[in-house]
């Protein structure tokens, strides 16, 4: 992920609005991945996600003079992407059973993890294997939408809790609860499958924060 640079963005926006329109390419480039994956998580379809990503970017350009700098630029862009994505979902009448804006998932529930001891360390070379990516994508696509969005932004695009909450229009507490559920579900579904990528050495990459 490319980290946002607020000063670069502010300068870029100022110059674009003053007429240096070509700078919009540089402004939007760091947001591309996040836009696409957020839309893909909503629409679950590559072609649709790409199409709406293009519409989002055009909309961002046309409304750039309305960006007030009260939030991060990328957060603002993603809220536009989300709206465009929801609009497309309504249009194609593909509103799935899992409610798109349900806040009803906050009750506590027990998530029993998959108990295993044979898959604990990730061999770096496993990442090179295409099937690992496919297994992960499939597991994430199988999550209910409210969890999938949070995982996409927080764990795949590595946004912080605050930005994820702002982009999705939910509270930080909801982000944490959903993230916890999502990770537990993924651990359950992935851990047994990933046993095939057996540990080769110990102590590879511990800790994240």
């Amino acid at each position: 992920m490319t980290l946002p640079e607020p000063e670069f963005e502010a300068e870029c926006i100022r110059r674009i609005l003053a007429g240096e329109k070509h700078l919009f390419h540089d402004l939007i480039r760091p947001c591309e991945r996040s836009i696409y994956f957020l839309l893909f998580s909503l629409l679950k379809n590559e072609t649709e996600a790409e199409d709406v990503a293009q519409e989002t970017v055009i909309k961002v350009y046309q409304n750039l003079d309305k960006f007030r700098g009260e939030s991060q630029f990328r957060t603002w862009v993603l809220s536009i992407a989300r709206n465009e994505g929801l609009g497309r979902l309504r249009k194609i009448g593909n509103r799935r059973e899992d409610s798109l804006d349900a806040e009803t998932d906050e009750q506590t529930g027990d998530y029993t993890p998959a108990i295993l001891t044979s898959w604990r360390e990730i061999p770096a070379e496993a990442l090179e294997k295409k099937e690992l990516g496919a297994i992960l994508r499939k597991a994430i696509e199988g999550l209910p939408e409210i969890y999938r969005n949070v995982v996409l932004l927080r764990d795949i695009e590595e946004m912080d809790i605050r930005e994820t909450a702002a982009a999705l229009g939910i509270s930080e507490a909801s982000v944490k609860v959903r993230l916890h559920r999502a990770r537990a579900m993924l651990q359950r579904s992935l851990a047994p499958q990933l046993k095939g990528f057996a540990p080769k050495r110990k102590g590879w990459f511990r800790g994240r924060a």
Binding site: G19, Y61, D65, R120, L132, D155, H180, Q187, L194
Partner: protein
């Protein structure tokens, strides 16, 4: 206070994100020292989180960026009246 496995599982996500208070973190650490099951659950959950963050796992479709910027170019050409004047 001695915490049990279920209690630990309830905090695993926050623990990975370093978002538990120091007291609870110490309790969890103490539990992990002696509980092979919870350490395995923690490691595998953390592995899932690490794997997801790898750019090679989630790649943009081939040509996505090129097509996006070509579309932007078309927009910039079509709407020359938007914003300032072309320098």
């Amino acid at each position: 206070m001695r915490i049990d496995c279920k209690h630990v599982w309830g905090h695993i996500s926050a623990y990975i994100d370093n978002d538990v208070d120091p007291e609870l973190r110490a309790e969890i650490d103490r539990h992990l020292e002696t509980c092979e099951i919870c350490s395995a659950v923690l490691d595998s959950t953390r592995n899932v989180v690490i794997l997801m963050a790898d750019d090679r796992v989630f790649e943009l479709p081939v040509g996505f960026s090129d097509r996006l910027h070509a579309r932007i170019d078309r927009e910039l050409e079509q709407h020359t009246d938007l914003y300032g004047s072309t320098p």
